[in-house]
């Protein structure tokens, strides 16, 4: 594909001023859009770019602001909590999830604005867990279906990573060289792995190791979870969305979609959204919901109407079900010398030696270990709220802040029908019912956690680290609108088209069937690129008929 000039844009996001009309009654595609995408996150950004480039009239509606990294972002943890979806969600279950900054973004770029940028492909086994391990379900698509899209995404955003990646079907090299130097915390991790005979790598990252597309390489300031000010870290805010706008897409930010509208024939006509307390309607031929794992089921359930009394796309009853997260336990060990985990890109080293099922461990599936940095607010908040450590004990730990090394697990959690999103009686500012997010770990998950903690302590222990404390954390959300071939047990097909409504797609981390044992966003984006291709093909078919 030759690159259109529209692919080259400035990155200060000020293009927003010239394209976003203040007057929502004078919208670019106010009459009708070809495609309306709800949510400008990882998936929404990729879809907007690919579809606008293919000539579709695209409108993206995003609940949060259109950030300008230069003026909106700060090198400060507390101030940057505002990048998260702060709206209250009710939580339940025996392991209630912490939401907000922990797993949900809000604003153009979605979760990619404050994500850590660790960028993995899933392995072949991740798509056929039932066949391999007799648990959960297989995906309707395989690794091979996504392979060309993984490759495309990695090239599009110049992922940096090792020449050789020893696990899974993709063995490297990555488009951009691996990051160098790596932080002390990551060095300790790699040296510990080596002592134990475990292979480790410099983590593949959606963070630049050299200039690309007008953006500079990383300066190791370590605030990836606060939004990258220099634009060294990829986000759809600075990459896909500006390009999509150049290709003609319109982005309506600060606009909360409150309903998906359907006509008598049961087809979607568009969406209703609220801006500044006023309600508007966006008509569209096709609607794609890319608004992530909690808001998508909430919107579908809330959009119930006489034809679809149980909510849209929900004939299977699976909307909202099988919510997954990753085990995200943080394992800390204390060292005699300073480590200074605040420095550098948070994750610069990893191992997937524990990724695949090993029956001898007594549980199925596995996990990735990421050497992980931390800053004072994140650590102290987690100690108090997740590990019940406060008072003198907290003080003592924090005074020794510079002497800890940290490893974070990213472990697969098996889907469970009782982990789900439902609607409560309590209303939010838009009059929409607040979601109830229920989550509990299962037996397999708990065994995996124990194993992961032990492996992490062994790695740091090999370097002389003393086990200090473990924070029971989680990371990422997946599922609630799973894909599948059988309309009675799944919400969308392998191309993310809803089984029940032909012009309604759901495309985000919510379509995951299982969670894999690594960070999920490359897979989210590969799925989105594949869905875009499918929509383009379908439109061509329609034309030639």
């Amino acid at each position: 594909m030759t690159k259109n000039n529209n692919d080259y844009v400035t990155h200060d996001c000020d293009h927003y001023d010239s394209h976003r009309l203040n007057h929502l009654n004078k919208r670019k595609y106010g009459d009708e859009a070809d495609v309306c995408i709800v949510g400008a996150g990882a998936a929404g950004g990729v879809l907007a770019y690919e579809l606008s480039k293919a000539g579709f009239k695209v409108v993206v509606i995003e609940a949060g602001p259109f950030w300008n990294p230069q003026t909106d972002f700060a090198s400060d943890e507390l101030a940057m909590e505002s990048l998260a979806w702060n709206d209250t969600r009710l939580v339940a279950g025996s392991d209630p999830l912490s939401m907000g900054h922990n797993n949900s973004g809000r604003g153009v770029g979605g979760g990619t604005v404050h994500f850590t940028g660790v960028f993995y492909r899933f392995h072949e086994s991740d798509f056929k867990v039932k066949t391999q391990d007799g648990v959960a379900d297989d995906w309707p698509i395989s690794y091979q279906d996504l392979e060309p899209y993984y490759e495309k995404i990695e090239k599009d955003i110049a992922v940096s990573g090792p020449k050789h990646f020893p696990w899974g079907p993709f063995q490297g090299p990555y488009p951009y060289p691996e990051r160098e130097p790596i932080s002390a915390n990551s060095q300790i991790f790699r040296m510990g792995c080596e002592k134990l005979g475990l292979r480790s790598v410099v983590a593949p990252l959606a963070i630049l190791s050299a200039p690309f597309d007008g953006r500079p390489p990383c300066i190791n300031r370590g605030f990836c979870n606060q939004g990258c000010k220099p634009n060294a870290k990829f986000s759809t805010l600075i990459h896909h969305i500006p390009k999509a706008i150049k290709h003609g897409a319109e982005v309506l930010s600060d606009c909360m979609v409150t309903q998906v509208n359907v006509d008598k024939s049961g087809k979607v006509t568009g969406v209703t959204f609220v801006h500044d307390k006023k309600e508007y309607f966006q008509k569209a031929k096709v609607v794609i919901l890319s608004n992530f794992c909690i808001e998508t089921p909430r919107l579908l359930l809330h959009s119930a109407c006489p034809q679809f009394p149980d909510g849209l796309a929900n004939s299977s009853g699976m909307v909202g079900k099988e919510l997954m997260t990753h085990v995200g336990h943080d394992v800390y060990c204390k060292f005699h010398d300073e480590v200074r985990i605040y420095k550098g890109t948070p994750v610069l080293a990893a191992t997937q030696e524990f990724y695949e099922t090993d029956q001898s461990r007594g549980f199925v599936r596995g996990y990735t270990l990421n050497a992980h940095g931390s800053r004072p607010l994140g650590l102290s908040q987690n100690l108090v709220s997740k590990a019940d450590i406060w008072g003198q004990k907290l003080y003592d730990i924090m005074r020794d802040f510079n002497f800890f090394a940290q490893i974070t697990l990213v472990g697969e959690v098996l889907p469970n029908i009782n982990n789900l999103v439902t609607l409560s009686d309590e209303k939010d500012e838009y009059g929409m019912p607040r979601p109830i997010v229920k989550f509990s770990y299962g037996e397999n998950d708990n065994k995996l956690i124990a194993h992961g903690i032990k492996s992490s302590q062994e790695i740091l222990g090999a370097m002389g680290g003393e086990p200090a404390f473990v924070i029971p954390d989680t990371g990422h959300l997946m599922g609630t609108c799973r894909m599948g071939n059988d309309p009675s047990t799944s919400v969308v097909d392998g191309f993310c088209r809803s089984h029940d409504i032909p012009n309604l797609y759901i495309c985000s981390a919510s379509v995951f069937v299982t969670g894999g044992g690594c960070n999920p966003t490359e897979t989210v984006m590969a799925i989105a690129a594949r869905t875009a291709d499918h929509i383009i093909e379908e439109a061509h078919k329609g034309e030639s008929n």
Binding site: D87, T88, S385
Partner: protein, 201 residues
């Protein structure tokens, strides 16, 4: 309370502020005060937050804790959501206001004095009970889940405390690092402006 223990007595992160971007500098400097009058918290409530904070962060320096109280007041006054709330727990405004009242009642019931009047050891033991959900029976606990109350207060308090630049200096945290970033990130290396230990054995 305790002596301030730091391995970096000579380090002052604020001396680096001219190297920070303006937006960040503005945000951080506001934490040094002075602070406007509280919006939501009454004087009594503010005093209680301050005393509770002393125990949570194990520090009694008023200049820092004033910011902690101010942050609590800003959070509760704000229309922004609270990320998550356990089913059955009231909104944070109610949780904190009713919760503080319940803490006073508890102190009355156990020690015949208000929370601010009992001695620090009694205050601490009361907070320990709350955190474990094992405080003495009160009918208020039906509306105010003890553990959730403790967690809400404690999380908000540490968020502000560990965002204070004086505390950053004491723990040897380099703080904001844009536009200059970190150059020497590997084991044993520090940039010239970072905190250096004075206690090396």
């Amino acid at each position: 309370m305790q002596e301030i223990r730091t391995r970096y007595p000579k380090y002052d992160v604020l001396k680096e502020q001219e190297h920070w971007d303006e937006h960040t500098r503005e945000i951080v400097k506001k934490r040094l005060g002075p602070f406007p009058k509280n919006n939501f918290l009454s004087d009594h409530e503010a005093d209680m937050i301050l005393s509770i904070a002393m125990h949570i962060v194990y520090d009694n320096r008023k200049d820092i804790l004033d910011y902690v109280v101010h942050h609590m007041d800003t959070t509760i006054s704000s229309p922004i959501g609270e990320d998550q709330r356990k089913v059955g727990t009231p909104e944070q405004k109610t949780l904190i206001r009713q919760g503080l009242k319940a803490i006073d009642k508890l102190a009355q019931q156990q020690y015949n004095a208000s929370f601010l009047e009992i001695d620090p050891n009694q205050q601490l033991s009361l907070l320990e009970d709350l955190q474990k959900g094992k405080a003495q029976q009160l009918k208020d606990w039906q509306q105010i889940p003890q553990k959730e109350l403790f967690k809400k207060l404690a999380t908000n308090i540490v968020s502000a405390y560990y965002s204070h630049p004086i505390v950053w200096s004491e723990i040897g945290y380099g703080g904001p690092a844009y536009p200059r970033g970190y150059v020497r990130v590997e084991k044993g290396l520090t940039d010239p402006w970072e905190a250096k230990r004075d206690d090396k054995e």
